[in-house]
């Protein structure tokens, strides 16, 4: 496999895995933020947006401190570690988008489901989540696109190991550092991927809206 292709495949893997992780944690969190009041909610909300406002290198450093050598999950400088960074950096976008979508779901419809014998979990699965589906798709795509473009926190936490953590953005950076290597094909791939993700998102959103 050429280094370009390997970087592309790795980028997709890392971004997909990171988005999946962000979604698994982000769906319940977005619902709790949209539907529940609790002590310290403002603190949780602030913590969620942290990766968006912190310099990426600081986020990477913090992750290194949490998941570095000698920690319980020493995943720094591995593919899984790169996926973790990708998920963390995309997490605020996912949660915020889905939270707004959950808030837009009419609670009276959830009441109707409950009156029809649906317990809270069934109500969530059959009413809340389907009605928030466009938000879920949009959030996941934003998260995925952010993960694809991640650079600073990744290089800090996961390094730049070819075949393991050298995603497209890192490969571009490496190419620029090495004389005689043309970064253009990588730049083109990366741009095409991001544009593709956005277009796919629009198509899915349109389809979701049309089925209403």
């Amino acid at each position: 496999m050429s280094p370009e292709l390997s970087a592309l495949v790795l980028s997709l893997e890392v971004a997909a895995l990171g988005t999946l992780g962000a979604a698994l944690l982000g769906v319940p969190l977005a619902w709790v933020l949209a539907r529940r009041e609790f002590l310290g909610k403002a603190l949780v909300e602030a913590f969620v947006v942290l990766p968006l406002v912190l310099p990426p290198v600081v986020t990477g450093f913090a992750l290194l401190w949490l998941f570095g050598r000698g920690s319980v999950f020493p995943i720094a400088f591995t593919t899984v570690g790169a996926a973790l960074v990708a998920g963390v950096m995309g997490f605020p976008l996912f949660v915020r988008t889905l939270r707004v979508a959950f808030e837009a779901v009419d609670p009276r419809l959830e009441q109707a489901a409950r009156s029809l014998g649906a317990n809270p979990l069934v109500t969530f699965r059959r009413v809340t989540l389907p009605l928030a589906a466009p938000g879920l798709v949009a959030g996941a795509l934003l998260c995925f696109a952010r993960a694809l473009g991640e650079f600073g926190a990744t290089i800090t936490f996961a390094g730049n190991i070819e075949g393991e953590t050298r995603t497209l953005t890192l490969a571009i950076w490496s190419a620029m550092q090495s004389p005689g290597v043309d970064p253009w094909p990588l730049v083109g791939l990366s741009a095409a991927l991001s544009v593709g993700a956005v277009v796919l998102g629009e198509v899915l959103l349109r389809r979701a809206r049309r089925s209403r």
Partner: protein, 315 residues
């Protein structure tokens, strides 16, 4: 049987009813929907709720475990599901309901494409399909035309489920309940037979605002009444103020219906007298006290009830 001892701020009601078809009647803002949602478990009020002897409030049984079928005033259909999936949300779609409510042709439609009356019918079918032990109905006949109202009444009768109905319409009370609870300002004003309750001035005033019409079943009316226009429902409604009482047989005139009968009872409320006459069916005429004394109306006195064919409406 329903037993309530609700102690909410805006709904404070203590009542026990053995009837299987119960109506809660009152003006808007009386707390009717709050009461219904408290019974459904969607609103938590302090106090006691029991349906058919089953305690639902202490400890609190969540709405989804109450075995109720609730028809909301605002329908609350699921916009992401088609009509079929809405009706089948909680169980096998009830074939009787789909047929009686004429929903067969609508099954593949989206919710956004339905009219108000169609939505109401889907909501009814959905509630009936959830295999409930009790039906809770919030203004279930609003938005339906006369014949469709009649189909709903028939369907509910055929299903035979006990129900608690909330309405601000006297007609719904008369058609769909054996016992009425009158509610105003979140307090119970009375419980029992609707017309007997009208002896209470406050209840009569509420009933009068809503229109205290006579209701005559189509079969009973067939040999009795001449009605303008073709048959368009299961029952006829006549406003008490549209009935003229005459002591002697009247001469030639335009009114199509002259019915012989006797006065059954008189009820004076709010400067008017509701005179109940038996002309084969029981009708109530609204008269002034002056007219009553001039005709010397008293229970047992023979009278003629005069009703214009155009004053009778199908419902």
């Amino acid at each position: 049987m329903i037993e309530l001892d609700l102690r909410g701020d805006f709904c404070r009601v203590q009542v026990r009813s053995e009837a299987r078809r119960i109506a809660v009647f009152g003006p808007s803002g009386a707390g009717k929907t709050t009461l219904l949602h408290a019974v459904a478990g969607l609103t938590r009020l302090d106090g006691r709720v029991a349906l058919s002897g089953r305690e639902l409030n202490t400890p609190f049984v969540p709405a989804w475990a109450r075995r109720i079928g609730l028809v909301f005033q605002d329908d609350r259909l699921f916009p992401h599901l088609d009509v079929r999936a809405n009706i089948g949300f909680a169980g096998t779609p009830d074939a009787d309901a789909i047929e009686a409510l004429e929903l067969g042709e609508l099954l593949d439609r989206t919710i956004a494409g339905l009219s108000g009356g169609e939505r109401r019918r889907v909501a009814l079918a959905r509630a009936l399909s959830s295999d409930p032990e009790w039906l809770l109905l919030d203004e279930p006949l609003t938005g339906l035309d006369g014949p469709r109202r009649a189909r709903v009444v028939e369907l509910l009768q055929a299903k035979g489920l006990p129900h608690l109905l909330v309405t601000h319409t006297v007609m719904d009370v008369l058609r769909l309940s054996d016992e009425v609870l009158v509610l105003d300002g979140g307090r119970l004003l009375g419980q029992g037979d609707f017309f007997e309750l009208c002896a209470d001035e406050r209840i009569f005033a509420l009933a009068d605002q809503s229109g205290l019409d006579n209701l005559v079943g189509a079969e009973a009316a067939r040999d009795l009444l001449r009605v303008a226009g073709p048959r368009a429902g299961q029952a006829l409604s006549i406003r008490p103020e549209d009935i003229i009482l005459a002591a002697d047989p009247p001469g030639r005139m335009s009114a199509r219906n002259v019915l012989e009968g006797r006065v059954v009872s008189l009820l004076e409320v709010h400067g008017r007298v509701l005179v109940e006459v038996d002309v084969g069916v029981s009708l109530r005429a609204s008269l002034t006290p002056a007219a009553v004394s001039e005709l010397a109306l008293a229970p047992g006195r023979p009278v003629h009830a005069i009703i214009k064919a155009t004053a009778i409406r199908w419902v």
